[in-house]
């Protein structure tokens, strides 16, 4: 393998490692809520700095490779998409950190509200992040397309959660805070799913050179 190809493979590996951290953060924040486990929240918070460092390292390496090798065609699309995916992953990490703060608030009182569709949303969202990374790794546009479809379910669950909580007649003054926090949590999960969707659009651009953003 040529040196440039090795260096591209190393960057790809770094993105996958960063993705694993981001995906774990999303999973830990959700598991902390379902299992009422504060230790997992600490794990989310401790990982954020690691994710930031990955972002800086990957950006800097992508810029160096573009500068040094002046890549074209597939190599250029790869490095441009690496820079974008890097940014999506960092934002996923930021949202996971927000989620951990919402969960911390929810855990500070006995559960007044059922989790409704949030458990399902968490599961689907985490799966989307995982599949988006796999699609990037395998340059698999079919898998990318499946993630785009899964986003519809997350959007629907988010809307449903919002409606349910807003129209809940049993909401008391005590539980309104929790309802608000659950709405914010659902919205944050929906944003994570959007970032996973963006990664898949970037994978499709990487593989096919087709820009499918803003088409729906």
């Amino acid at each position: 393998m040529k040196k440039f190809e090795q260096e591209l493979a190393t960057v790809k590996q770094q993105v996958m490692e960063m993705g694993e951290v981001a995906e774990s953060m999303v999973g830990w924040a959700s598991a902390a809520l379902v299992g009422r486990d504060r230790a997992l929240i600490q794990k989310v918070q401790a990982s954020e700095r690691k994710l930031d460092q990955y972002q800086l390292d990957i950006d800097s390496e992508a810029i160096r490779l573009i500068t040094v090798y002046a890549p074209i065609a597939n190599d250029l699309r790869f490095l441009l998409m690496v820079a974008r995916i890097n940014s999506e992953l960092e934002r996923i990490g930021d949202q996971a950190l927000n989620n951990s703060e919402y969960v911390l608030q929810l855990l500070s009182a006995p559960p007044a509200q059922p989790l409704r569709d949030i458990s399902r949303m968490s599961e689907v969202t985490r799966g989307m992040v995982h599949d988006a990374l796999q699609a990037f790794h395998d340059e698999d546009t079919d898998k990318a397309q499946q993630v785009l479809t899964a986003d519809d379910e997350v959007d629907a669950l988010n809307a449903q959660t919002f409606r349910d909580l807003l129209t809940d007649k049993n909401v008391s003054l005590d539980s309104v805070n929790q309802s608000m926090t659950l709405i914010l949590l659902a919205r944050s999960l929906e944003r994570i799913a959007d970032h996973a969707t963006n990664i898949c659009e970037e994978v499709i651009y990487l593989v096919k050179g087709e820009d499918i953003r803003h088409q729906t």
Partner: protein
């Protein structure tokens, strides 16, 4: 290592280096620090003084008449113009590779040991010479191609192999610095890639300074770059920085291909 002594961190340092060919000043007040173990590329338009600067490194310019040099060149902590510096020793420490491969019209084996025979007052045992030949040819990734024909003439090899042989020829003398003057300009794309891979494998063991007109090659191969213009050093820095965010306008215009 930022706390290393300058002579440990830098293989080559120049201070106020000037050089004239007759009345023409080819180098003007050149100050550079070239880091040990890295590959440093000298870039700049034709006639900017790159090759002249390179040739100062082993005092090759002195072979040309009417050359005047002032200032200081320190290699591995020693001023190479000190009267007690032996030219022979200097050229053992600082090897040179030229544009056109120039193997001697003798066997591959004798090409590799040529320097040893010249520099060793007492001959080495054949077994020791054999070891040095194999080691040098392995280091330049040529051993497998030529091990069965070491007695054939070096001039019969392909240009890429000849250039590798010219690099191998330096290694038994245990150089610390290798100066390369457009080492790929006579080679095809495959030969160029092979020499670049070789340079990459030598990184860390030797300080390599390469003059190249090929900006893509400078970007690909070097850790540091020195941009020269009209005999002066305009800018020196890590290669990625120099091509991404040059500090000087002249450098920016050159690397953007606006002139040169």
């Amino acid at each position: 290592m930022s706390d290393a002594r300058p002579q440990d961190r830098y293989s080559i340092q120049t201070q106020g280096l000037n050089l004239w060919y007759g009345d023409f000043q080819a180098l003007k007040n050149v100050h550079v620090d070239i880091q040990r173990g890295l590959i440093t590329a000298l870039i700049g338009p034709s006639g900017c003084g790159k090759t002249t600067f390179l040739r100062c490194g082993n005092r090759l310019n002195e072979r040309y008449g009417n050359v005047t040099t002032t200032g200081q060149i320190t290699i591995l902590g020693k001023n190479i113009y000190d009267p007690n510096v032996s030219l022979g020793e200097l050229r053992k420490t600082v090897g040179m590779v030229f544009q056109r491969p120039n193997p001697l019209p003798i066997s591959i084996y004798e090409n590799v040991v040529f320097g040893l025979r010249v520099h060793s007052p007492i001959g080495l045992a054949r077994r020791r010479l054999d070891e040095r030949v194999e080691s040098a040819l392995r280091e330049v990734q040529l051993w497998n191609d030529v091990k069965d024909r070491l007695n054939q003439k070096g001039t019969g090899l392909t240009l890429e192999q000849q250039q590798k042989l010219c690099i191998a020829r330096l290694l038994p003398l245990k150089p610390r610095v290798i100066l390369m003057d457009e080492p790929c300009s006579a080679l095809d794309a495959e030969g160029t890639a092979a020499i670049e891979r070789l340079m990459d494998s030598l990184r860390g063991k030797y300080t390599i300074v390469i003059v190249t007109h090929n900006m893509a090659q400078a970007r690909r191969t070097s850790d540091e770059c020195i941009f020269m213009l009209l005999g002066e050093v305009v800018e020196q820095g890590p290669t990625a920085d120099l091509f991404l965010k040059p500090r000087q306008k002249e450098t920016e215009m050159y690397v953007e291909g606006r002139y040169g």
